[in-house]
């Protein structure tokens, strides 16, 4: 135990941790902040749809029954009244010959608008009109999705090349009324955010844990270690230290980036089934938003630990830190290609993924990682130095 802790102390060096923290900060700005902002601020009328889904959750719970839908739709006349008020007060509408919301509806069907009409058309969706134009678009879209869900499912069944089990599952979403869920269409952004988190977990795990064995070998410490009472058993402890460190670092990143993700304001939907009527993505199994995030986190954890195990093998066969990096870069790219292009593409989603492939690929990666590390340990025990 004492040796394990000492090995972990060698891994968790202050200077490397500082660099990892800086890297996480820059990476977050470059790749992850965009998705949080996209859910909550920049995507219209997506942001308004999410806001209305939150309203439904607060007032009717995680599902929206038909009678509750009728009540919810009473919001629309209120939005239209609010729009009419802005139209009456702002000269930009008068200049374009617009006197109420009905005129805007007529204008939306006219593709040849004058400059004044074009300006008036967009102003209603802007901040100075409290995004009321987008709120009306959002509520109309929600109503359309709710009332035509059956038609959408039929179209999906006939038009998309679904397997027999996928067809059964799609019918099940209707029969079990899973689609009553008020979950908004935020799966893509969530999935992309956690995809980049998975890449970061792999990257930081590799940076933190991989130099352990290489540094010992570069300093010829391994011979001293093998001659000690612990002998070559030190390698087993080093492997455990590597895996535990990777696990700890990944969990820390989950906490930090999980907290940052709460800025998107979507955590209130954790209990909602993601196969709701608002979105267009349906999963192979009934699953809540919280459960889905949990699956993404487990996949990230497996990727990070498996990568660390494999990096342990690379570090065993590297005599300097630079040669180690030469090996880690292609390895990191390969893991990312598997993660980004295959597993995190649309995990668990009907029509684009196979649940078995999603988890199977990572299970294979984990198995290969640990098996190859174990083989390397076994070989090292027998090698004559």
């Amino acid at each position: 135990m004492r040796i394990l802790l000492l090995e972990m102390k060698k891994i968790w060096r202050g200077r490397i941790l500082l660099l990892v923290a800086l890297l996480c900060g820059l990476y977050s700005v470059l790749f992850m902040d965009f998705y949080v902002g996209h859910i909550s601020i920049t995507d219209h009328p997506g942001a308004e749809t999410t806001e209305l889904a939150g309203y439904m959750l607060d007032h009717y719970g995680a599902t929206l029954e038909p009678d509750e839908f009728d009540e919810f739709m009473r919001l629309r006349p209120q939005f239209v009244a609010e729009a009419n008020q802005y139209i009456a007060e702002m000269p930009v509408f008068r200049d374009a010959g617009i006197y109420n919301y009905d005129d805007i509806v007529v204008l939306s069907q006219n593709l040849e608008r004058s400059e004044a009409e074009e300006r008036a058309y967009w102003v209603l969706g802007m901040e100075q009109c409290n995004y009321v134009g987008y709120r009306i678009q959002a509520i109309d879209s929600i109503a359309e999705n709710y009332t035509s869900f059956g038609t959408r499912i039929n179209t999906m069944l006939y038009d998309e090349p679904l397997t027999a089990s996928e067809q059964i599952r799609v019918r099940e979403i209707v029969s079990l009324k899973e689609y009553y869920s008020v979950f908004p269409d935020i799966i893509e952004y969530t999935k992309d955010y956690f995809k980049y988190l998975a890449v970061l977990c792999v990257l930081t795990s590799l940076i933190l844990t991989s130099p352990l064995v290489t540094l010992d070998r570069a300093r010829k410490m391994n011979q001293l270690q093998y001659a000690s009472a612990t002998g070559r058993g030190i390698l087993t402890r080093q492997l455990f230290a590597t895996l535990i460190s990777s696990l700890l670092l990944t969990l820390i990143l989950f906490v930090i980036f999980g907290l940052l993700f709460t800025r998107a304001g979507t955590m209130k939907f954790l209990r909602c089934d993601i196969n709701g009527f608002i979105g267009n993505s349906f999963t192979h199994i009934p699953i809540t938003y919280g459960g889905y995030i949990g699956v993404l986190l487990v996949l990230s954890l497996v990727a990070a630990i498996a990568s660390s195990a494999l990096a342990f093998v690379f570090s065993r066969f590297s005599d300097s830190l630079v040669t180690l990096i030469f090996k880690l870069i292609p390895f990191f790219v390969a893991v990312d290609l598997v993660s980004v292009l295959l597993v995190f593409n649309r995990p668990l989603m009907i029509g684009t993924s196979n649940a078995l492939t999603d988890f199977g690929l990572y299970a294979i990666l984990l198995f290969i990682g640990v098996a190859v590390a174990a083989l390397a340990l076994r070989r090292e025990r027998r090698v004559d130095i």
Binding site: L19, T323, F326
Partner: protein
């Protein structure tokens, strides 16, 4: 002699060769598996060989003499070239410059530099219009895709891999004596600490050689699948070639000088070599300052990441925003706009040359400072 020994150290590193081979395999795999749709471009190239690349009456006559093909390539090319017009005639690039100024909400000196840049470009555009520069074949309707694929995708991969390789082999060489416990012997020899200069020249040479190796195989594979032989003499500012950004949309590909496709390719290769050398120089400075090569590589990566993040953090109303766009990694990001006006991302004309020169000077100062620091360091 010492220079050759330094190169030999690198050549004797299997991991470096493994890395280069993996990069080559990756590039070839992507090139071969990517849907190139090369049938049409290869046909256009064969037309270019026979009929030339200037879209005039004789070109149309010679194209008409080509045998009809089952794929309809000839008919497609005839339609495209018959409709070709001089895209630079009445092309108001000053107005596009104003849009960029508006997006950044720039004023004062920044707006003035933007305006001067686009006024100069307008003069050049007018001369291009007078010379009918855009009436050139390039790859006809396939031009945008192939131009992006070669100068965006292939050069992008090639340059990124070369930058990584340059950084790592430079750090490897500068950390070599320490990792092999030969530091005290090497620096107490007659060459002494001047060895660093030899290491620097060896690193830059090796980086360029690595770039060359990667380029020969990767570009060789690309050019085998996509025949450019008939269009090398075509103008890169052909009316079929476009550049795209979110503010101005699609617009003619306009360079500061008139380039043939071959000339543009060679110029881009030159800039790429310059960027690789600059990264090697920066890595050398880091390698001399920091004795830990692992941390050194992290610093190189973090510096480049910072250069990408900084323009996002600083508004386009400030000079610092544009200064960071001159960094090597940002130049890599802007590779598809080299030798053009650079759109809203860059403030100065010839930004790629300016960036390269500025990076070179900055990294050289860093290196000399590191060298001076090293000369006084107690190694025992």
């Amino acid at each position: 002699m010492v220079f050759l020994y330094e190169l030999k150290k690198l050549a004797a590193t299997p991991a470096l060769w493994g890395f280069i081979m993996l990069c080559v395999a990756f590039n070839c795999f992507i090139t071969i598996t990517q849907e190139s749709g090369a049938g049409y471009p290869n046909f256009v190239s064969s037309v270019g060989k026979t009929a030339g690349t200037t879209l005039d009456r004789s070109f149309q006559e010679m194209l008409a003499a080509f045998p009809d093909d089952a794929d309809g390539f000839k008919a497609a090319l005839q339609t495209e070239t018959a409709d070709a017009r001089d895209v630079f005639e009445n092309y108001d690039i000053i107005e596009i410059g104003e849009r960029y100024i508006g997006v950044h909400n720039a004023d004062g000196k920044i707006a003035e530099i933007f305006r001067n840049k686009y006024a100069d470009m307008q003069t050049h555009v007018d001369s291009l219009a007078a010379a009918d520069e855009s009436m050139s074949l390039y790859f006809g309707g396939g031009t945008y895709y192939l131009h992006q694929s070669l100068f965006g995708d292939v050069f992008g991969r090639l340059l990124m891999e070369s930058m990584l390789c340059a950084s790592l082999l430079t750090l490897l060489l500068f950390g070599y004596e320490r990792s092999h416990n030969t530091e005290l012997t090497a620096y107490s020899s007659k060459t002494g600490r001047r060895l660093l200069l030899t290491k620097l020249s060896a690193s830059i040479t090796a980086s360029i050689i690595a770039f060359g190796l990667l380029a020969i195989v990767s570009l060789g594979t690309y050019f085998t699948l996509n025949d450019f032989s008939g269009i090398w003499r075509s103008s890169v500012s052909s009316g079929f070639n476009k550049m795209h950004d979110l503010i101005a949309g699609m617009r003619p590909f306009t360079t500061w000088r008139s380039f043939t496709v071959l000339g543009y390719f060679l110029a881009c290769t030159g800039i790429s070599i310059g960027i690789v050398a600059a990264i090697s120089l920066f890595s050398a400075a880091v390698g001399v300052f920091l004795r830990n090569t692992y941390v050194g590589f992290m610093i190189v990566v973090l510096f480049n990441a910072l250069c990408v993040v900084a323009p996002i953090a600083f508004s386009g109303r400030t000079f610092i925003h544009y200064i960071f766009t001159l960094s090597p990694i940002y130049l890599w990001g802007l590779r598809i706009r080299w030798f053009t006006d650079g759109s809203a991302d860059t403030l100065w004309k010839n930004f790629e040359l300016l960036g390269l020169a500025a990076s070179g000077v900055l990294f050289l100062i860093l290196y000399l400072t590191a060298n001076k620091h090293f000369a006084r360091r107690d190694l025992s």
